[in-house]
Amino acid sequence: MKLARALIKNALLWAALFGLFAWQDGWKILLETLMGRNPPPLFNRATLLQLALEHISLAGLAMLGVLIVGLPLAVWVTRSTGKPFLSLVSSLTALGQTFPPVAVLFLALPIFGFGSTSVYLALFLYGLLPTVSSTLVGLSSVNENARDAARGMGMNEGQMLVRLELPLALPAVLAGLRTSFVLLIATAALAPLVGAGGLGQPIIAGLSVNNLGYVLEGAVAVALLALLADYTLRDLERTITPWA
């Protein structure tokens, strides 16, 4: 009930944001008021809506990869079979984040060439850490007494994970996902450096032709996406963990 209401509210907010992106004339007036008409401050090679959709799909697909790889990885290294790899995995994911995404982008270039594949790789590596490490924290913070009670009442390993550990780790996991996703939305602005699209296009083009209107347009749009993503995920965290 509460969840349904939160979902509807957030869907409406996202629709409103993309409606705002679609309103080319409004942006034009706004940017011209702020930056003057010369040079024309509104990016003209693609509409803001197209750019925003490209951007969110770059970040979204990379995030999907993070989820598919990161969550099972974190769960696995906390099980008895994966335990020996726990420290390896946590240092590797940490390493993924010490590499600046720009460096990963250019390192991926010779392998995958220009285009979105390199961007996905860079974003994936960069987004893995917050998700994996907070899932590890969440799973390891499950109360030892609750675990003991669960085992003593006859839960097997799988039941402990599904009925106890994952639900209790959920707040931490969701917080990690949120950090990852916001990070990816911000970092995806670098995608045009290797020939992919997104809201980075007006920013990078604006910087190279010294058109601050372009930069402002892209930067504001990225910021709005990141803010709303953060808000939505926070909202979901609250509604699906009513016991916390």
Binding site: N145, A149, A150, G152, L164, P167, L168, P242
Partner: protein, 325 residues
């Protein structure tokens, strides 16, 4: 005497240290046996052997005739109620869901689970309509402890393991919980293994007390016999210098008083103080020390059923001490 749990020369070794040494013990069906002793004596270890949370390194442990090492651990645990000190309620589940944990592991249908949970919550004194859909965090420590007991009883196990279940609540709540727990136990007659380090709790609840020290059984006896005939200086010290008082705590005034056949006019006109026959002899002693002389003993309706004096208590005590166990 049929034994629900039987330890036959059980040992538990951790590396080279011996945590439990040659434990032989029978827990009779339907009795409440308290394991007590100083910390590190092995009482919790002994308890956790029963549902195979820990496995014995030697000897044999039979639960309802079956060797635990031959039983399926998960199925065994589902058939034994388990209550631990810090309760271990699951914070993300409502009170109903917490009580229904074992029934859902056993795949009971929804209606049956819910009605059983409501029945048990009523039994432990929590209204299901009011508390059922709350989360553990919204309950007091004492209430959580009641839920812990209801949860352990959910699938109607014949054996209950309780590891300091009342350890984390304040003294007044603890006393109330103990009384209610005794009432429940009289009703359900489970075999209960109960760990505590509180001798008063042990004396109050136990049918038998198993006093342990350094992984060995020091004395296994009824509370009365443990208090009256401690088998060693260690037991004597452990039960405390007031052991005779503790023993009186388990006896009612009515069983020690001098009964009066018909009400003597002397008593009706006197201003002698009175006590209820159901009161413990220990509390009556305290009243005697306060009032001096003699007390009237009354039944629940206020009728006089006897008298008790300091001398009666002394005589009764001497009698008891002359009977060897």
């Amino acid at each position: 005497m049929t034994a629900a749990i039987e330890f036959q020369g059980v040992e538990k070794r951790y590396g080279t240290t011996l945590a439990l040494e040659n434990i032989t013990l029978e827990v009779p069906k339907g009795e409440l046996v308290v394991l007590i002793g100083p910390s590190g004596c092995g009482k919790s270890t002994l308890l956790r052997l029963v549902n195979r949370m820990i496995e014995p390194s030697g000897g044999k442990l039979l639960v309802e005739g079956q060797n635990v090492l031959e039983a399926d651990a998960v199925r065994l645990r589902r058939s034994i109620g388990y209550v631990i000190q810090s309760i271990g309620l699951f914070p993300h589940m409502t009170i109903f869901e917490n009580v229904e944990v074992v029934p859902s592991l056993l795949n009971w249908d929804k209606l049956k689970k819910r009605s059983r949970a409501a029945e048990l919550l009523n039994m432990v004194g929590l209204e299901p309509e009011k508390f059922g859909s709350r989360y553990p965090k919204q309950l007091s420590g004492g209430q959580q402890q009641r839920v812990g007991i209801a949860r352990a009883l959910a699938a109607d196990p014949q054996i209950l393991l309780m590891d300091e279940p009342f350890g984390a609540v304040d003294p007044i709540t603890r006393e109330r919980l103990q009384e209610e727990f005794l009432r429940i136990q009289r009703e359900i007659q489970k075999t209960i293994l109960f760990v505590t380090h509180d001798i008063d709790e042990a004396v109050k609840l136990a049918d038998r007390i198993c006093l342990m020290r350094d992984g060995k059984v020091e004395q296994y006896a009824t509370p009365e016999n443990l208090l009256a005939y401690p088998s060693s200086d260690f037991v004597r010290d452990f039960v405390g210098a007031d052991r005779e008082l503790k023993r009186l705590g388990r006896v009612s005034v009515a069983s020690l008083m001098r009964p009066v056949a018909k009400v003597d006019i002397r008593f009706q006109t006197s201003e002698t103080a009175s006590v209820l026959g159901t009161l413990s002899a220990r509390d009556a002693l305290s009243r005697l020390l306060e009032a001096g002389g003699e007390l009237l003993v009354l039944d629940a309706q206020g009728g006089i059923i006897g008298t008790i004096s300091l001398n009666d208590l002394t005589v009764a005590n001497m009698d008891y001490r002359q009977r060897k166990p």
